[in-house]
């Protein structure tokens, strides 16, 4: 079943059009990789899906579970199951990770009309989840991402993904700033969360991430459009021959 349908999407940032009619369909349980050179519009796409301010959609639509995603506030999208793992997760001093997780999880549950977690129930849940991902309890007591290494920040994103149980995860350049060990740990976390109901959209510049997270479908973006889609072998082809061949196609 189609989870996310992006249809002929045109997006502007301050008078300049970045996406020129992008179409993409992601079904439940699929892993999609979106690749492309810098400036091709990969991050713009992830931001528009999540609802970041500053982007103007001039044409096209985005359906999520059949509903008009663009009509929803960004926090409503989160409650509906859209999760964006940030390229550069922000630091929030003075707010413990534990407090942040609880506030966010309960906000989402409340928005869905579900009961909020009590403190003991929440603690039980967060301990279970962090244990399954081998995340030390100590990390939960620290301020959100404050003084975290690049690897720890990404693991914190994975932890949130596990806790919030979204149906669509968008991973924006997850590999940036990570050494190979940290990359493997983060990717293992993502793989553990893949399920028949949950789709993943992995945005990346390099093929190396796809050695750890194996996509069902690879899309190549260039100049604000998807110019080619194919199986995982497309990523390898790109690694060998580069993006230049698609520049003309766009």
């Amino acid at each position: 079943m189609a989870l996310l349908e992006v249809k002929d999407l045109k997006v502007r940032v301050e008078e300049r059009e970045i996406l020129h009619g992008l179409t993409l369909t992601v079904n439940e349980g699929e892993i999609h990789a979106i690749m492309g050179p810098n400036g091709s519009g990969k991050s713009t796409l992830s931001h528009v899906i999540a609802g970041k301010p500053g982007y103007e959609v001039t044409d096209g639509e985005i359906l999520f579970k059949g509903e008009d995603l663009l009509a929803m506030a960004p926090n409503e999208r989160a409650a509906k199951g859209v999760f964006l793992a940030f390229q550069y997760p922000v630091e929030i001093p003075g707010v413990s990770t534990m407090n942040f997780l609880r506030t966010a999880l309960n906000a989402q549950r409340k928005a869905r009309g579900e009961s909020e977690y009590s403190t003991p129930d929440f603690l039980k849940k967060v301990r279970e989840v962090s244990k399954s991902l081998n995340i030390p309890q100590d990390m939960l007591k620290r301020g959100v991402n404050v003084g975290f290494s690049g690897g720890e920040k990404k693991r914190n994103e994975v932890l949130q993904m596990a806790l919030f149980e979204p149906s669509l995860c968008i991973l924006d350049e997850m590999d940036s700033g990570l050494d190979i060990d940290a990359l493997r740990i983060a990717a293992d976390g993502v793989n553990a969360l893949h399920s028949p109901k949950r789709a993943m959209v992995v945005i990346t510049h390099y093929q190396r991430l796809l050695n750890y997270i194996v996509p069902d479908i690879v899309h190549v973006m260039s100049k604000g459009r998807v110019v080619k889609s194919g199986g995982k072998e497309l990523a390898l082809e790109l690694e060998a021959s580069g993006y230049a061949q698609f520049e003309d196609a766009a």
């Binding site: 301010p53 500053g54 960004p74 926090n75 989160a78 409650a79 929030i92 707010v95 506030t103 906000a107």
Partner: protein, 498 residues
């Protein structure tokens, strides 16, 4: 003075129009004539059955006040106050009897709900009384419980305090019952000649609290929970005096997170604290006066003089304040570190939104040897507000080994507000160690979006980030109040972004 008129109009609309309920005669007879004169001062003193010495004290202050001019150095801007156009005394206004919570403005109820104040307490705060012959049992229960609770709680507390020897009563009562203590200490920290507003307060103060903790006694409770419910009718010129005798300890909390409205626009309170050898006073404030409307009209002008005197060796005074209300805040809770090894602390959260103007900070005056002080100030400016930290740290020639640490952090929300830091530092001896740190930052769009992407609304996101910013200070508040203050902070900033 149009601003005053504006407030009066507003409060009239919000509050109950007393004239409609036939209290006219009563009110008129209990009101001092408009304006300030020796007659007014005498009127107030007489109303309170004060002894002659007290009247004399007030009159001296009044004569002194006549020679003084309003201070203008603060970074606040407001229409000139006509001091002859104000009422300086009126008996507590009889409220219209409310018989159920249904009669309270839903907006006010909403605020209580956000603060998490239980409905039963709301009933008390809003003065819900049972209607004679009221049939609805649930309604009756609220009111009966309220009466039952406040009486029993107050009685238990009074008995316990008496057992410990702690004197805790309205200052007007203390003037009559403990004149020796009041005469000895009143004006000994903030003299009648201190500053324009303190002098005005000395002449016309209405009431306030008096606390005396005898030597070696640790006050068995926070002087707050009971007081919080009963403090509603303190007037515009409040006077508080707290004395901690040798080796004693007391924690005092004033104010209320519930929204406070008053028909008097000008507020000029004075608070004096005295600690003797080895004694400690912890004074916490939560201030949520009416800040004015969305166009910046009306709102309380809050000109407060708060000062503590660490008179004895090894004594300690700690101020913690959460300031969210008032149109104008002019307030510098200070410590005179007179005793050797004495310590002063100031923890402050000052939030301004809309058109609010805050000029607040502290003075740490090191006079004794090896005195130490610590200042943690968190200013948050949103909307079109201006937020200034103004602080003085000074070490006297004889204050060898004086130490101070100051951290002033400002957070800006939006691009139409201002944060200012004005620290004065004076060391008159070479052994003093003063450290000053200051930061100014803005809530970034990226941080907000991160929180929103995780399911928080814009307002919840701002509240979360701000509460993180002020955490160090919130931790200084008594536990029960910290929770309420945290919610209050989020509410104060509603509508500040977007």
């Amino acid at each position: 003075m149009p601003a005053v008129q504006e407030t009066v109009e507003r409060v009239k609309r919000i509050d109950v129009d007393q004239y409609r309920y036939g209290f006219e005669t009563l009110i008129e007879s209990d009101k001092a004539p408009k304006g300030l004169s020796e007659e007014t001062v005498k009127f107030i003193s007489e109303k309170k059955n004060e002894p002659a010495w007290m009247l004399q004290w007030r009159l001296e202050a009044y004569r002194r006040w006549l020679t003084m001019t309003e201070p203008t150095w603060a970074r606040v801007d407001y229409p000139k106050i006509d001091f002859q156009d104000l009422y300086y005394y009126s008996a507590p206004k009889p409220k219209k009897t409310i018989t159920s919570l249904d009669e309270i403005d839903p907006e006010i109820l909403k605020t209580y709900e956000k603060l998490g104040i239980p409905l039963r307490e709301v009933a008390m705060l809003e003065g819900v009384e049972p209607k004679p012959g009221e049939e609805d049992p649930t309604r009756r229960k609220i009111a009966v419980d309220a009466v039952f609770d406040s009486v029993s709680v107050a009685t238990t507390f009074k008995a316990e305090l008496k057992k410990a020897g702690v004197i805790f009563m309205p200052i007007s009562e203390a003037i009559r019952e403990h004149p020796e203590l009041v005469q000895k200490y009143l004006g000994s920290v903030v003299p009648t000649s201190d500053n324009f507003y303190a002098t005005l307060n000395s002449a016309v103060f209405s009431d306030g609290s008096f606390v005396y903790v005898p030597p070696g006694v640790r006050c068995p409770m926070e002087l707050s929970t009971y007081f919080r419910i009963n403090e509603r009718n303190t007037g515009q010129f409040e006077r508080t005096l707290i004395i901690a005798d040798k080796g004693s300890y007391v924690s005092y909390l004033e104010g209320c997170t519930a929204p406070q409205r008053d028909e008097n626009q000008l507020h000029a309170a004075v608070v004096e604290l005295v600690t003797h050898d080895d004694a400690e006073i912890k004074y916490s404030t939560v201030q949520n006066w009416y800040p004015g409307n969305s166009e910046g009209k009306g709102g309380i002008y809050n000109f407060v003089t708060k000062r503590g005197d660490c008179r004895g060796n090894n004594s300690k005074i700690s101020w913690t304040q959460v300031e969210t209300g008032s149109a104008i805040t002019w307030k510098y809770p200070s410590c005179i570190l007179r005793g050797d090894n004495s310590r002063g602390e100031f923890y402050s959260i000052a939030i301004s939104n809309g058109y609010q103007q805050v000029d607040s900070g502290t003075k740490m005056i090191h006079l004794g040897k090896n005195t130490s002080s610590r200042i943690i100030s968190k200013g948050i400016a949103a909307g079109k507000s201006q937020n200034t930290y103004r602080g003085l740290v000074t070490a006297h020639r004889k204050a060898t080994g004086a130490r101070n640490f100051t951290a002033c952090d400002s957070l800006l929300i939006g691009d139409k507000c201002g944060a200012h830091t004005v620290p004065y530092i004076e060391a008159k001896n070479s052994s003093a160690t003063f450290e000053h740190e200051a930061t100014t930052s803005k809530i970034s769009e990226d941080v907000l979006f991160y929180c929103i992407q995780r399911g928080l609304t814009q307002e919840e996101a701002v509240g979360l980030v701000v509460n993180g910013f002020v955490k160090d200070v919130l931790q200084q508040l008594p536990m029960e109040f910290a929770v309420e203050a945290q919610k209050l902070i989020s509410i104060s900033l509603e509508g500040s972004v977007g």
